[in-house]
Amino acid sequence: MTDKLTRRYRRLLFAYPGAYRRLRGEELLGALLDAAPSGRTWPTVREAANLIRHGLRARLGRPASRTVVAWTVLTVVISGVFSAAFATRAGWQTARPLPRAAEAQAMLAEILPGQKFIGLQDAPALFVIYGQPLSWNSAQDLLFGDGGEYGQSGIAGGVDAPTLPPQETVALVQHNLRARGWRIYSLKVDGQDTAIVAQRGDTVLRMDVYPPQAAISPPINAGFLRATPFAVYPFGITGGILGALVAFLLFGWASRRTEGRHPALSVVAKMLLGITLFFWWVPTLFAFQWMTRHYQDQPNPSWPPMWEWLGQPTLSLLFLIGCGSALLGLALAAIPRHENEPLSTAAA
């Protein structure tokens, strides 16, 4: 009976950091067994939740600190959000390639027959920067101000000389889209421009029709994009959880390792944490606010990719400065203790 309970308590004690378990595990176990009524073989749910909660708190070290939990939450949340965003980028890899020029031309001929679309060119990738897939050559553009040029690519063309007036064109397009199974997502008249956004399966169409007096050439533009693939969501959720977990473990490790160290090392570690959180949180909050305002009125059946909500890769330089600061902090935490430096108080 007691053996089973002991084994189950031991399992729950894994919530505590290893060093803590080695030094205090037997003592905690003794107290738990002393408190357990005879005949009990399972810890109660309340007891289990309590051990996990306090074990996780012990992982942060600094038992007397009233702010370490708040710093952990800030670090874990932003790390989870960025990890989720990067994982969604991996999820986008499951999207089908964009339609080739010939296929796009054929679809446009169905949607707006009798009009010759020109300028359709095969897209080199789903996401491009200045029309090219991402490569090391684009690192400078990404980091130094032109990161906003990185975005979803499409295949688009235009009609130079439409044979139908704009209103008839819009009516015909709507009719043909519905007849061929497209869902018209949005029909928006903005000034002289009539924008039609429709989706069929994983393909999104955007068509803009301008009247002759708008003097826009070509007066009809149409392009295809890929809708967000379903895999983006499980990738994002899994990536977010894993990123948050890794951030929690690393934060706890660094916090315990830098606790009770030389005052200079402790001050530098805290400064590095402050710098990291500043460069991760502040640009992200600004970008999120900007995106919320900017995309409110945009007709779009898919949300913009998650990284764009975080200001990436437009503000990637600031993000990388934060990463550099975080790595320096971890390197500092990895410096071995001198013999005369005390152990973490929680493990002492």
């Binding site: 905690l28 003794g30 107290a31 002393d34 408190a35 309590n50 909660r53 306090h54 038992p63």
Partner: protein
């Protein structure tokens, strides 16, 4: 100072106690109102140790189980005394106010 902290410190005023001993004493002191779970107790002991209010006294093995005893430090005793005075002052003020409003109830 929160109530569980006050009770944990009070549990050690008459001598060193081990973890489960503190849990039992806190239950008695609170008239059965406060039942500390082991995880909560050890987080509180870690914090009180880091704050210098409590320190390790000695260790025993009973029925193969490790029992580590903790004792109140001079700082812990001072903090407990100060908190008791603060609570007494507060209670006196509340009682005086209640007596003025409802003379028969207090």
């Amino acid at each position: 100072m929160r109530e569980p902290t006050l009770l944990i410190l009070t549990a050690m005023t008459d001598g060193p106690r081990h973890g489960y001993g503190i849990v039992q004493e806190v239950r008695v002191l609170s008239g059965g109102q406060v039942s500390l779970l082991t995880g909560t107790l050890y987080t509180a002991l870690d914090r009180l140790t880091a704050e210098g209010l409590v320190e390790h006294d000695h260790e025993e093995q009973v029925d193969g189980r490790v029992r580590r005893y903790y004792r109140l430090t001079a700082g812990g005793l001072a903090a407990l005394t100060a908190e008791t005075a603060r609570l007494r002052q507060l209670t006196t003020a509340v009682e005086a106010r209640l007596r003025a409003v409802h003379p028969r109830t207090v």
